[in-house]
C-alpha cells in the first residue's frame, strides 16, 4: 500500500513542480525589476564581444549591451548576471526563460525570427562569414579551398553557409563539427583542419588568442551576411521595445555627439532639441517603454554611446583593431541607422 501512496505523492509533486510554467502572467520587465538583476546570455568567450578577464569581469560589445539594458531598466549597469551559453544552448536558454535577453553575436535570420519563439531587436554588429587559414598554406582566396577539411562550430548559421558556399562553387570539403569554438580552434591549430570558419569578427578575435597570430591569415572573402544582434522572447512587446530602443539610444547619442564624458555637460548646457529629447529633458519618451525619462542618461553615463562601446571593445581602442566598416553610422557611409527619438 505504501507504494500507492508514494506514487500519489510523486504525481502530485510533479503537477506542482510543473505548475509555474503556466503562470507566466508577469512581464519580463516586472520579473527583472523584482529580481533586481538582468539575466543576460552571452558567448562563453569571444574577445571583443563577451569574454571574462582574470578578475572575472565580463567585457565586450555584447556584454556592454547587457550593461546598457541594466542601466536603463534597473538604474545600475553592474546589476547583470552573465550567463555563458554555447551556440547550441543559447536558444533554449532564451525560450525557456533562463535568460531575459540573448546578447551573443547571434545572426538574425528569418527562421530564427519567425518559428523559434524569439525576436531580434536590432543589429549591433554587421558581420559576414569568412575563413582563417595558416599563412604557410599559401592560400589567397576561399575559392582555393577545394578538398579542404574545415573546422566549424555546431548550431550556427556558419554550418549552413559553409555547405551552400562549397555547393555553389562545386567544391568538396569535409566539415569537422565541434560544440565549442575553443575545441574547433584547437583542432584547426593542430592541423586537423585547413581552415576554421566563423564570422570575420570572431576570426580576428580567435586569431589574437593563438600563440603566434602572425602565422594565420583571415581570407578576404565574405561568404554570407551575418547581422548580429540581441534577441528576446516573442510575446512581450514592451520588453522587445526596451531592448530595441537601448540600441537606438546609443546610436542616436553618437549621432548627436553625446558621449559618456560630456553627458553631464550636455544635460545642463545643450540647447539642441535632439539632445534634449534623447536625454529626457523634453518629452516623455522613457515612459512609453515603461521606464523613466532618465533611461538614456544612465546608459550613456555608465556604458557610453555606440561608437565608444565599439571602439573600446573591437575597434581602434582595443587589441582587435577592427575597422568600423559597415558598422559606421549611416551618415558616415555605414549601415548603423537608428529611428529618431521624437
Amino acid at each position: 500500500m505504501k507504494s500507492v501512496y508514494s506514487g500519489l505523492l510523486a504525481s502530485a509533486a510533479l503537477a506542482f513542480l510543473a505548475a509555474p510554467a503556466v503562470a507566466q502572467g508577469k512581464s519580463t520587465l516586472e520579473t527583472v525589476k523584482a529580481r533586481g538583476e538582468l539575466s543576460c546570455g552571452v558567448n562563453v568567450g569571444l574577445a571583443g564581444f563577451s569574454s571574462k578577464d582574470d578578475k572575472g569581469e565580463w567585457s565586450g560589445l555584447d556584454a556592454d549591451y547587457c550593461r546598457a539594458i541594466a542601466a536603463a531598466v534597473l538604474g545600475d549597469g553592474k546589476k547583470v548576471k552573465f550567463v555563458a551559453t554555447t551556440a547550441k544552448e543559447r536558444f533554449t536558454a532564451l525560450t525557456s526563460g533562463e535568460i531575459d535577453i540573448l546578447s551573443r553575436n547571434t545572426t538574425w535570420t528569418m527562421s530564427r525570427d519567425s518559428s523559434m519563439g524569439m525576436a531580434f531587436a536590432g543589429v549591433n554588429y554587421y558581420d559576414g562569414q569568412g575563413f582563417i587559414v595558416k599563412k604557410s598554406a599559401n592560400i589567397k582566396s576561399a575559392k582555393e579551398l577545394d578538398g579542404a577539411s574545415i573546422c566549424v562550430q555546431t548550431g550556427t548559421t556558419t554550418e549552413l553557409n559553409l555547405a551552400d558556399f562549397f555547393r555553389d562553387n562545386k567544391m568538396k570539403y569535409s566539415p569537422i563539427v565541434f560544440e565549442k569554438a575553443d575545441e574547433a580552434m584547437k583542432a584547426y591549430q593542430g592541423n586537423r583542419c585547413d581552415a576554421y570558419t566563423t564570422d570575420v569578427s570572431g576570426l580576428y578575435s580567435e586569431k589574437l588568442r593563438t600563440a603566434t597570430p602572425d602565422d594565420h591569415v583571415v581570407l578576404p572573402d565574405l561568404i554570407s551576411k551575418e547581422p548580429l544582434g540581441p534577441s528576446v522572447r516573442q510575446g512581450d512587446a514592451q520588453w522587445f521595445s526596451i531592448v530595441k530602443w537601448v540600441h537606438y539610444a546609443m546610436l542616436n547619442a553618437e549621432e548627436a555627439g553625446i558621449t559618456s564624458k560630456n553627458v553631464d555637460q550636455m544635460l545642463t548646457s545643450s540647447t539642441s532639441a535632439d539632445v534634449k529629447r534623447i536625454l529626457g529633458k523634453d518629452g516623455d519618451f522613457g515612459k512609453g517603454i515603461g521606464l523613466d525619462n532618465d533611461w538614456a542618461v544612465r546608459i550613456l553615463k555608465q556604458v557610453g554611446n555606440y561608437g565608444e562601446v565599439f571602439d573600446r571593445n573591437v575597434g581602434e581602442g582595443s587589441r582587435l583593431k577592427i575597422a568600423r566598416g559597415a558598422n559606421k553610422l549611416w551618415k558616415n557611409g555605414g549601415l548603423q541607422y537608428a529611428p529618431p527619438i521624437r
Binding site: 500500500m1 500519489l8 519563439g117 578538398g147 554550418e159 569535409s174 583542432a187
Partner: protein, 402 residues
C-alpha cells in the same frame, strides 16, 4: 445495494451504513487506489502535454514532426549512407544514428576483448602481468572519460603528421592527422562467386562444429575443428577468387591538394572516440570478469586439475562458463554505459547522433521538445534492445547451472 451487502457479508466486516462495506476490504481498497493512481497519472501526462503545446503555441515556436521532411542544408563528415546538404533532416537523423551504432558496436567488441584479457591477466600467476593489469584498471577507470577522450584526440592523435608528411604504412595506406587512409576495395564482375564461397565456407564450418560436438557427446571421439574451419572460411573464397580471375581492384588514396582523395578513411575523431570509450569501459569489464572468475569456487579448479585438464582447458571448459553467470548482468550495464557515453563524441567532433541530431538539427530547427523526445526514444530503444539481447544470452548461459 444487494451486491454490496453480499460482499459485506462475505467479508465479514461491519457496515456503518455511510460507507459501503466493500470499502473495508483490503482487496477492493487496493484496486480503488490503483485506479485512482492511473487516473491521476493520465491526467498529469495530459496536463503536461497540453501545457507544453500551449506554451509553444504562445511563444510562437513551431511544433510537430514535419521538419524531418525538410532540407537539412548542412554537411556531415562521416556518412555510412548517401547524404548531402540537399538531404532531409530525417536523413541526417539516420546518418547520426548509424554513426552512433557504429561506435557502439565496435566499442563493445573492442572493450569486451580488452576487458576479458585484462581481467584474466589480473589473476595471472605472473607477477609482472598481474601488476600491469592492475595498474591499467586503476588508472583508466579512475579518470573522467571526457578527459581521456581529450587526451586521445588532442594529445595523441594530434601528434600525427600533416597530410604531406604522412606515415606511409605500406600497401597504399597512409596515416596522418586527418585520419587513416586505406585502399578501398572495388569489386568487379564475378566477385559474387567469392562472396558465395565465403558464405558456403561459414555454413560448412558451422555444420562441422555441430557434427564434431555431437560425435564427441555420442562417442567421446574428438574431431579437429579449428584448422578445417579456417580452411573453409578463408581457403574456399581464396580458391574462388583465383578461379574467377581475381575480380577485385583497389581505389588507392592519393594526395591531391589539401587531403588524400579516394580510398577509404577512418576519421581521427572515430579513432579517438573508439580508443577512449573501449579502453575506459574495458577497465570496468576487467573488474567484472575478475569478480566472475573469483566467484567460481576453488574446488572447481581443483577438480579440473584432478581431471588432468591444462590451465587453458580448465579456464575454457570449467571456469569461464560458470563465471559467465556472474559476469553477464554487470557486463550488460557496461555495454549500456558505453553506448550512452558515446554521446561525448560531440566534444571531439565525431558526428554521432547527439552531435548531428540533438546538436545541429535542434539548433537549425529550434524544435527542442520534439528533438529531445526523439533522442530519448532512440537511446531508450538502443539500450532496451541491448538489454533484451543480453538477457537472452544470460538465460542461455544460466542453463549451465545444475
Amino acid at each position: 445495494m444487494a451486491v454490496e451487502t453480499q460482499n459485506g457479508a462475505t467479508g465479514g466486516t461491519r457496515s456503518s451504513g455511510i460507507l459501503p462495506a466493500a470499502l473495508y476490504r483490503p482487496e477492493v481498497r487496493s484496486i480503488i487506489y490503483q485506479v485512482a493512481l492511473v487516473v491521476i497519472l493520465a491526467l498529469a501526462a495530459w496536463w503536461v502535454i497540453n501545457n507544453v503545446q500551449e506554451n509553444l503555441r504562445r511563444q510562437n515556436i513551431a511544433s510537430g514532426f514535419e521538419f524531418l521532411d525538410r532540407r537539412s542544408g548542412f554537411d556531415i563528415a562521416q556518412t555510412l549512407v548517401e547524404y548531402s546538404s540537399a538531404s532531409t533532416y530525417g536523413r541526417a537523423f539516420l546518418v547520426g544514428l548509424l554513426n552512433t551504432l557504429l561506435v557502439a558496436v565496435l566499442g563493445i567488441v573492442l572493450a569486451t576483448i580488452v576487458g576479458f584479457l585484462v581481467g584474466i591477466a589480473r589473476l595471472s600467476h605472473n607477477w609482472l602481468i598481474a601488476k600491469l593489469a592492475t595498474a591499467y584498471v586503476e588508472v583508466l577507470r579512475n579518470m573522467p572519460l571526457l578527459l581521456q577522450l581529450f587526451f586521445w584526440y588532442f594529445a595523441v592523435l594530434k601528434g600525427l603528421p600533416a597530410p604531406r608528411q604522412s606515415f606511409a604504412l605500406g600497401a597504399g595506406s597512409f596515416l596522418n592527422v586527418r585520419g587513416l587512409y586505406m585502399p578501398a576495395p572495388v569489386p568487379q564482375e564475378g566477385f559474387g562467386w567469392v562472396l558465395g564461397a565465403f558464405v558456403i565456407g561459414i555454413l560448412a564450418s558451422v555444420a562441422l562444429s555441430l557434427y564434431a560436438r555431437r560425435l564427441q557427446r555420442d562417442t567421446g571421439r574428438q574431431l579437429p575443428v579449428f584448422l578445417p574451419s579456417l580452411g573453409l572460411v578463408v581457403g574456399l573464397p581464396l580458391v574462388a577468387f583465383l578461379l574467377s580471375g581475381a575480380p577485385l581492384t583497389f581505389d588507392y588514396p592519393q594526395l591531391r591538394g589539401f587531403n588524400f582523395n579516394g580510398g577509404f578513411v577512418i576519421l581521427p575523431e572515430l579513432m579517438a572516440l573508439l580508443i577512449g570509450l573501449s579502453l575506459y569501459t574495458a577497465s570496468f569489464i576487467a573488474e567484472t570478469v575478475r569478480s566472475g572468475l573469483m566467484g567460481v569456487p576453488k574446488g572447481q579448479t581443483e577438480a579440473a586439475d584432478a581431471l588432468g585438464l591444462s590451465r587453458g582447458q580448465s579456464l575454457r571448459l570449467v571456469i569461464i562458463p560458470q563465471a559467465m553467470r556472474i559476469i553477464i548482468p554487470p557486463l550488460t550495464s557496461q555495454y549500456l554505459n558505453l553506448t550512452k557515453n558515446s554521446s561525448l563524441a560531440v566534444a571531439i567532433g565525431y558526428p554521432d547522433f547527439v552531435s548531428v541530431f540533438t546538436g545541429t538539427v535542434l539548433n537549425q530547427t529550434g524544435q527542442a521538445v520534439e528533438v529531445i523526445l526523439i533522442t530519448m526514444g532512440v537511446f531508450l530503444t538502443i539500450s532496451l534492445a541491448t538489454s533484451l539481447g543480453m538477457n537472452w544470452f544470460n538465460k542461455r548461459m544460466a542453463l549451465v547451472e545444475r
